[in-house]
Amino acid sequence: MAEVRERVSPGALARSAADSVRKVGPDCWSGAALCISALVTVPLAGVVWLALFPTDGIWSHLASTVLPQYLRTTLLLMAAVSGATLVVGVATAWLTTLCDFPGRRICEWALLLPLAVPAYVAAYIYTDLLEFAGPVQVALRELFGWTSRRDYWFPDIRSLPGAAAMLTLVLYPYVYLLARAAFLEQSICVLEVSRTLGRSPWGSFFGVGLPLARPAIVVGVSLVMMETLNDFGTVQHFAVSTLTAGVYDVWLNMSSTAGAAQLSLVMLGLVLGLIAMERLGRRSRRFHHTTYRWRPVPRRSLRGGDGIFACAACVLPIILGFAVPAGVLIDYTLRSSHRFGGRFWTYLWNSLTLSSLAALLAVATGLLLCYTVRLGGGPIVTTAVRLASIGYALPGAVLAVGIVVPFALFDNALDRLLRDSIGISTGLLLSGSLTTLVFAYTIRFLALAQGACDAGLSKITPRMDGAARSLGLAPGAMLVRIHLPMLRTSLLTAAILVFVDGMKELPMTVLLRPFNFETLATHVYQYASHDQFEQSAPGALAIVAFGMLPVYLLSRTIAAGRPDQRG
């Protein structure tokens, strides 16, 4: 049995279990979590520092001209993308987990594939296909004998709905991934109770299945929202004026770093507000199983029309989000003159190393932070840990500047100190080094790791902790012997999400990298930004291909993570 809305007795039980842990828990966990949170929020401090400089009336200018537009566009885009990813992600997760239809086994993992396609790559490809001079409209004109734009109506891809569609296509897998993991954990016992109490299959879905999966789905949607908010590549290409576009405009065209930093902080406030609202909404609910009576939910077999409909619903996102972009990239690559020559393999190696290191570091950090909160860190630790994940909500280039400033400050201070005391000049120790870049990736993607760890931990009943502790396990031993084995799936999910996002990372790599250093993403960008996207197709294809493998692995792991498969 799982608890959805029980607010009194079992909740109190869980809290008292947590209390007993808190009393025994040593403070070194809290200390470590606070230190890491502080380190991870250093870039935020950098941005706040930049925001303190005078801005020469930027705000009154923005408020009287484009700010309302920025806000409206941003909110619309976020609402559209989170709504659409919610529907697509949850529906496909429910269908592939609890129903059986032709092609289900392939859809199960293929639905994750769009995750490997960078949003800006999808944007470039769909613009080429759907714009006035693209093959689709040219074919339509030839077919119907139209000659000019005025003869017919065709949706403009370079628009707000176009940008929302692009972002939905590549971001829905976050929701699918987390919703599916949650549905897989659900036991038929819960749904059976719901059915015997008279709910219809749909009623059970909306009344029980969906609310039980809520924490996981919320994590997915908030990741989508943050990605949407800080996207620059797509909105710039489509000339959609979001707040992020505004940040870059104030920064680069009005040469006001301070104004850009302030605007970024406003955006950050927006995200934090949304997340806080959601947390408030499910404050006192618990979502874990309370018994060991677990039976898998038998799949409902969908035949005939239903089966075809379910299949189409799952195949469509795969085709649009993955098959079309990948097909176009393969086509470009085959036609490209310089395919995998030159330094291609070095770039690939750089991308792989950076992303793997960041994945390891982010997962270790994320786990430590979430686990400390579970041990009962108190309000200060909890707040610090929440703050640690905001790197994901800032535009990449702004975060990068936020890293440049404090790191250079540290380097210069150390250099001065050592020169004055022992006469040795260290120069810039960290700035422009790979260490900084790995650190930056970790900060940026910590939210992904934290989200997955959080969702995993929330499904383990606190009674388990109570039992382990009363049997004499210290928090560290409890983590290794009790939680880690149960969190295997969540941790791998976290690592793979960070890895795949790392492969796509662009704005921070561009600014923070050492001399003569290229990744696949920067290599693609140098051509794409110069409107020679076709030249960089081999690189883009490699990003997608190397993202696919872990994504496939991920899906296998989740399926294997179902309680009945764990033995």
Binding site: R158, S159, S431
Partner: protein, 357 residues
């Protein structure tokens, strides 16, 4: 310097002559004294893309034996330089627009350079009077017009783009793009803000579609009949003429140098500067001198269809085919200083939000 010359510049040649084993031994020996090697390098932060810069840097290494290390980033380099301060490893900055140069001057991260070679190679109006930056190439912002639907004598000035005659016939990229902002800044520097605002309103009301795409996309739209006139940089036109897949777009449009009868066509520059933190100052100056010299200027012209700043260097055959033109002589520093005002003007007019007709 000799050793360095062998280790970097002529690696390929040695590779062929001496063979693998000897090369390995040489490499091991040469990699030992790192401090010695460091004396012969120059570190570059570049706003310009690698595919333009890398071939020219390659020639520089081959000719001088100085190793060049580059970070390419199209934004944030000013902040990085400022934060790194006196310890910054960067010696030289390469920029794509006069706006970047102005930002660097205002951030106070450049040093003045006195070089007779640079002064001889680069005309006065394309460099900073105090030697803090030097223009290297020029491009003109011209009008692309449909060869079929526009008669050249109906449009000869930037002012004409706002003429109601062109209602529903103008395409534009986003007015927030760096070249557009610099162009509008040049209008403010010349006409003052009120007149520029009226002009921009006029262009906005003539738009055929919401501003989008880059200069190449505007030519494409003209070729496809979406609109008839647009602003574009000269080198995009050259690149289209040279590319078999895009040649049709260039052929469907003609290139008009505006305002030839009065103040001349707006030009912008790419440039280079030496940082105040430069540890390899001599090499840095050497690089600038190389970039302003005949060979590099010829490479820029040949590869990217830009105009060399050095008088006497021939532009590429394609660029030469457009004929000579009269460039606006307004000092580019004055233009750069109006960039923030230009960007705000675009917001006030709401240019990028135009729906088109």
């Amino acid at each position: 310097m000799r050793i360095i010359l062998i280790s970097y510049g002529t690696l390929d040649m040695i590779h062929k002559r001496v063979g693998h084993f000897a090369l390995c031994v040489l490499a091991v020996i040469l990699s030992l004294p790192t401090s010695l090697r460091a004396a012969g390098e120059v570190n570059i932060y570049s706003f310009r893309q690698p595919q333009l810069i890398q071939p020219i840097i390659g020639r520089f290494q081959a000719v001088t034996g100085i190793a060049a290390n580059v970070v390419y980033a199209d934004k944030g380099l000013v902040e990085r330089l400022k934060a790194e301060g006196a310890n910054s490893p960067a010696d030289v900055i390469l920029t794509a627009d006069v706006g970047n140069l102005n930002d660097l001057v205002e951030a106070d991260v450049l040093q003045g350079v006195l070089s007779e070679i640079l002064e001889a190679n680069i005309p006065y109006q394309y460099r900073d009077p105090e030697g803090r930056w030097f223009g290297l190439t020029m491009r003109a912002r011209v009008i692309y017009a449909s060869r079929e639907r526009v008669s050249p004598d109906t449009i000869s000035r930037y002012e004409d783009l706002a003429d109601p005659r062109f209602k529903g016939r103008v395409c534009s990229r986003s007015a927030k793009q760096v070249y557009m902002v610099s162009f509008i800044a040049s209008r403010i520097a010349e006409w003052g803000e009120p007149q520029t605002e009226r002009w921009l309103e006029g262009v906005k009301s003539n738009l055929a579609r919401k501003p989008q795409g880059n200069d190449r996309a505007q030519a494409k739209a003209i070729a496809e009949g979406e609109c008839d006139v647009a602003l574009g940089n000269t080198y995009y036109y050259g690149a289209m003429q040279a590319n078999p897949e895009e040649r049709a777009w260039a052929e469907a449009t003609i290139l008009i140098f505006p305002n030839q009868a009065d103040r001349g066509t707006h030009v912008n520059i790419s440039g280079a500067a030496v940082t105040s933190a430069a540890k390899n100052r001599a090499e840095a100056v050497r690089l600038l001198e190389f970039l302003s010299g005949d060979e590099a200027q010829g490479l820029y012209a040949e590869q990217n269809y830009e105009y060399p700043v050095k008088p006497g260097v021939e532009p590429s055959a394609i660029v030469a085919s457009w004929g000579p033109f009269k460039a606006d002589t307004i000092p580019l520093v004055e233009v750069a200083q109006e960039r923030a005002a230009a960007s705000r003007l675009v917001d006030r007019v709401g240019f990028d939000e135009a729906g088109g007709s």
